[in-house]
C-alpha cells in the first residue's frame, strides 16, 4: 500500500504541469477564479477544451478509438488534481462527460461519427434536458412528450434547470414517447438542435445573481427520429447510466482543497483582520480540511479498486453526498471569514470584466455568490435525500 506515485506517474505529472503552464493564460485563470457559478462561460471554457483537444486530452474518459487518451485511473487522478491546483477553467461537462459516454455506449455509427468529433473540438456546446417543473427528484415522472409523425417526433413540454441552455446549440433530452406500466417505461433519449423552430429559452437567475440555468419550452418542435439514441422507450436506462457519470466522476477533492485554501488565505490575511485568530474559524477550517482528506482517501481507494478491475459499488453516492456537503461547508466558512464584506452585493457579471471598482477586494468577490449559488450542490444530480435513499438501498440492502 502506497500513497506515492511511481516514476511513470511522476513523469506524467510533470507532463500535465508543463501543458498547463504553457496553455493556461493569466486571463483564463482570473476568469475562472472570478466565476461564482459551476461552469465557466463558454468563451473561457471552450478555449481550454480546444487546448486540451489539441494535445489529445479532450476526453479523458473516452475509449481510444473515439479520441480518448487511454489513461489509467491514476493518470486521470493526476490530471484532475493538477488541473484543480492550477485553477484551469471549469469546462461544461454536458458534452464530454455526459452525452459523450451515452453516444459511445448506445449511439448509432452515424451518431458517433457526427457528434463525437464535434464534442471533442468544442464545435458543439451541449445542454441537458432532464428536469421539468413537475419532475425534480422524481425524474421519471417527466411529461415532455414526443409524438411520432412519419420520420419525425413532435415535441411539446418544458425542461427546467437547463445549465447553459442560452449558450448551447444542442440538447440531449429525456422525453416521453409512450405510457408504460411503470413511469420509467416509455422514455426516450433524444438529441435536439437548439435552433429548431418552436424552442424558447427563459433565463432563471440564481440567488447569487448569476445566469447559469434556464427554463426551455418546446412548442411543436420537430426532431428527426434519427436523433433518438438507442431504442425507443429505453431512455431511462441510458439516462441513469449518465447520472452515474454525473455523480461518480469521482475526483473532486483537489478542487475542494483549492477552494478551502483560498478561504484559509483570506482568513490569515489583514483583509479580514485575521479571521483565523478566532478559535472557532481556525477549528472549522481544520474540520473541513480533514473532511477533504477523508474524501480524497475515499477517491483514492475507489481508484485503486478500479485499477485492478474491481467494482467500487454504490460509493458514487457517498462521493456525491460528501463532495456537495463539503463544498457547502467551504463556502459557508468563506462568508463567515470575510465578515463585514459579506454585506456587499456586486450585481454585474461577469465579475472578471467589471468596468468599475468593486466595493470589496477582488479575492472576496465570489465568496457570497458561491455560498448562495452553492446551496444547489445538494440538490442537483440527485438531492442528498435521494443519495441517502440510494446508499440505504444499494449499500445497506434496506
Amino acid at each position: 500500500m502506497d500513497l506515492s506515485f511511481n516514476a511513470e506517474e511522476r513523469a506524467f505529472q510533470d507532463e500535465v504541469r508543463g501543458f498547463i503552464a504553457k496553455n493556461l493564460t493569466e486571463e483564463m485563470k482570473r476568469a475562472t477564479a472570478l466565476t461564482p457559478s459551476v461552469f465557466s462561460d463558454p468563451d473561457v471554457g471552450m478555449a481550454w477544451q480546444r487546448a486540451l483537444h489539441a494535445r489529445g486530452w479532450g476526453a479523458p474518459g473516452w475509449p481510444v478509438e473515439h479520441g480518448g487518451p487511454d489513461w489509467t485511473p491514476a493518470q486521470r487522478w493526476i490530471f484532475e488534481t493538477e488541473s484543480a491546483r492550477a485553477g484551469v477553467p471549469n469546462v461544461n461537462v454536458m458534452g464530454v462527460k455526459m452525452v459523450g459516454p451515452v453516444i459511445i455506449g448506445f449511439g448509432s455509427p452515424e451518431q458517433k461519427n457526427f457528434y463525437l468529433p464535434r464534442i471533442l473540438s468544442g464545435e458543439d456546446y451541449w445542454c441537458q434536458g432532464y428536469s421539468e417543473p413537475g419532475s425534480g427528484s422524481d425524474l421519471s415522472s417527466l411529461k415532455t412528450r414526443a409524438v411520432r409523425e412519419g420520420d419525425d417526433y413532435i415535441i411539446n413540454g418544458t425542461k427546467i434547470w437547463t445549465t447553459h441552455a442560452h449558450h448551447a446549440n444542442r440538447m440531449f433530452a429525456l422525453v416521453r414517447t409512450s405510457d408504460g406500466p411503470r413511469q420509467q417505461d416509455g422514455i426516450s433519449f433524444i438529441l435536439i438542435d437548439m435552433k429548431t423552430p418552436g424552442i424558447t429559452t427563459r433565463p432563471i437567475l440564481t440567488i447569487g445573481g448569476d445566469h447559469e440555468v434556464n427554463q426551455v419550452f418546446f412548442d411543436d418542435v420537430r426532431v428527426p427520429v434519427a436523433n433518438r439514441v438507442g431504442e425507443e422507450g429505453k431512455g431511462w436506462t441510458y439516462g441513469k447510466y449518465l447520472l452515474e457519470f454525473e455523480r461518480g466522476s469521482g475526483i473532486a477533492s483537489a478542487k475542494l482543497r483549492e477552494g478551502l485554501k483560498a478561504i484559509a488565505e483570506l482568513a490569515e490575511s489583514d483583509l479580514t483582520g485575521r479571521a483565523i485568530d478566532s478559535p472557532d474559524i481556525a477549528t472549522r477550517i481544520s474540520e473541513v480540511e480533514v473532511d477533504i482528506d477523508a474524501l480524497e482517501m475515499t477517491e483514492l481507494r475507489v481508484l485503486s479498486a478500479l485499477q485492478t478491475g474491481q467494482n467500487p459499488g454504490a460509493v458514487s453516492s457517498i462521493l456525491k453526498l460528501r463532495n456537495s456537503e463539503i463544498r457547502q461547508a467551504v463556502t459557508r466558512l468563506g462568508v463567515d471569514v470575510i465578515g463585514h464584506d459579506a454585506l456587499a452585493v456586486e450585481p454585474m457579471r461577469p465579475l472578471y470584466q467589471l468596468n468599475h471598482e468593486p466595493a470589496v477586494p477582488e479575492e472576496m468577490l465570489t465568496v457570497v455568490p458561491e455560498y448562495l449559488n452553492g446551496r444547489a450542490y445538494t440538490i442537483f444530480g440527485g438531492t442528498s435525500e435521494i443519495q441517502r435513499d440510494i446508499i440505504a438501498k444499494m449499500m445497506l440492502g434496506i
Partner: protein, 382 residues
C-alpha cells in the same frame, strides 16, 4: 499509488478476523470485564505465536518489520471483538519508544522479549494538570550519584497494572538544575515505593494511576542517552492514535451491522423499522461516517513516517474526525435499538463505551481539531 491490500495483508486480515471471531464472544467479554487482569494471558500467548507481538519490531530485534498499515489491519479486527489485551501499551507505544529511544543494549534486552510475549510494557506520561498537552510534565527525575530519583504523579496509564516495565516520562534535573529535557525511564513494576492504583477502564481492559515518591532507579534506567524525548513521545502517540483509529473503525462497523440487522427484524406499527425513511437515512449517515472513518484512519497510518508536522496533522485530524463519527455511530446505534440499547443485556452498550473511551484517549475531538489547526497555520499570531 495503490491502496489495495497486498496478498500478505489480506491474509493477515483474514487470520485476525478469524481469530477474533473464534476466541472473542459475548461470554468471553463478560468474563474479562470481571477479571482482575482484564485480559487473558492465554490469548496474549496466542498473539505471540501468531507473530502479532513481533509485527512492528525490526527484524534485527526479533520482529517482523511490519508497517502501520498492518497494525491498522490487526487493530480493526481487534475492534470487531473488543479485544482487551494490552496491545497498544506494549507493542504500539512501548516497543516503539524502546526502539526509537533505547540504546542497542536496551533494545536487545527488551524487544525480543516483547516479540515472544514474555515482557509487557506501559507508558506513564499523562498528568492531571497537563490535560492533553504532551509537553507539560511535572514529574521530576533528579540525577543522583547512583542513578536517578523520580517523583511525581501519572494518570490514565493504559494497562500499567499488567506491565513488567513502565516507561515513565520526567523532566531531567541534574547538578546544574532543570535541563529542559524530558527523559523516559524504564521502571520495573516491582520497584519499591511505586504505587500503582488500577481501575476498570471504560469499554474494557484496565488503566491505572501511578504515584512516584522518591523512586530510586539505576543509571541504566534512562532510555537512551537523555536527549529530549518529547518528539519521540509525540511520534509514538501519533502512531497509537492511528492504530486506535483503525480499532474504532472495527467497532463502528460492528455497531452499524448489528443495528442494521435489528432495524430489519424489529417491527413497529406493522412494519420493520427499516421501512421508515427517517431510519433509512440515519443508517445511511452512519454508513457514510464509518466509510469516512476508514479512509481517514488509513491516511493516518500511511503518514506515520512522514515529517513531524504532516504526521501530527494526519494523526490529529484522524483522531478528531473518527472521535466525532464514533460518538455519532455509537449514540445512534443505541437510539435505534430503543430501550434495549440502554441495557447491559445487549452488547451495543459495550461497543459504545469502547468508542467513548477511544474519543477520550490522548485527547478528544476538540483538542485534536485545535492541534491540527495550530500546526496548520502558516503564520503565528502575535
Amino acid at each position: 499509488m495503490d491502496l489495495n491490500l497486498t496478498d500478505e495483508q489480506r491474509l493477515l486480515r483474514e487470520s485476525a478476523e478469524r481469530f477474533v471471531a473464534e476466541s472473542y464472544d459475548a461470554d468471553h467479554r463478560r468474563k474479562m470485564a470481571n477479571d482482575p487482569l482484564g485480559f487473558s494471558p492465554t490469548v496474549w500467548k496466542q498473539f505471540a505465536e501468531l507473530g502479532w507481538l513481533a509485527l512492528p519490531i525490526a527484524e534485527e530485534f526479533g520482529g517482523l518489520g511490519g508497517s502501520a498499515v498492518e497494525i491498522g489491519i490487526l487493530m480493526e479486527a481487534f475492534g470487531r471483538g473488543l479485544v482487551s489485551e494490552p496491545y497498544i501499551a506494549t507493542v504500539v507505544l512501548g516497543a516503539a519508544l524502546v526502539e526509537r529511544c533505547g540504546s542497542t543494549a536496551q533494545k536487545q534486552a527488551i524487544l525480543p522479549k516483547i516479540a515472544e510475549g514474555s515482557v509487557k510494557l506501559a507508558l506513564a506520561h499523562s498528568e492531571r494538570a497537563a490535560r492533553f498537552d504532551l509537553a507539560k510534565v511535572a514529574t521530576i527525575a533528579n540525577k543522583t550519584a547512583q542513578g536517578w530519583r523520580l517523583s511525581g504523579s501519572k494518570i490514565a496509564v493504559l494497562d500499567g497494572h499488567a506491565a513488567d516495565e513502565i516507561i515513565v516520562s520526567a523532566h531531567i534535573r541534574d547538578q546544574r538544575g532543570a535541563s529542559g529535557r524530558i527523559g523516559l525511564f524504564l521502571v520495573s513494576a516491582q520497584t519499591p515505593s511505586l504505587v500503582i492504583s488500577d481501575y476498570v477502564r471504560l469499554g474494557g481492559g484496565r488503566s491505572c494511576n501511578i504515584e512516584l515518591s522518591d523512586v530510586f532507579l539505576p543509571e541504566a534506567a534512562l532510555l537512551g542517552d537523555g536527549h529530549d524525548a518529547l518528539p519521540a513521545i509525540e511520534w509514538a502517540i501519533d502512531r497509537a492514535m492511528a492504530a486506535l483509529g483503525a480499532e474504532a473503525v472495527g467497532i463502528m462497523q460492528v455497531l452499524l451491522d448489528t443495528t442494521l440487522e435489528y432495524t430489519k427484524i424489529r417491527k413497529q406499527f406493522g412494519r420493520p423499522l427499516s421501512a421508515n425513511q427517517v431510519i433509512r437515512h440515519r443508517l445511511a449517515d452512519m454508513a457514510v461516517q464509518v466509510d469516512e472513518a476508514r479512509s481517514i484512519a488509513l491516511r493516518a497510518a500511511l503518514k506515520v513516517d512522514a515529517e513531524p508536522v504532516q504526521r501530527a496533522r494526519a494523526a490529529s485530524g484522524a483522531k478528531a474526525k473518527i472521535g466525532r463519527s464514533a460518538r455519532f455511530v455509537g449514540e445512534q446505534s443505541i437510539q435505534l435499538h430503543g430501550g434495549m440499547g440502554v441495557t447491559e443485556e445487549l452488547e451495543v452498550g459495550a461497543y459504545f463505551k469502547r468508542l467513548v473511551a477511544f474519543d477520550t484517549l490522548f485527547g478528544g475531538s476538540a483538542h485534536h481539531y485545535d492541534r491540527h489547526a495550530r500546526l496548520g497555520r502558516t503564520t503565528v499570531p502575535a
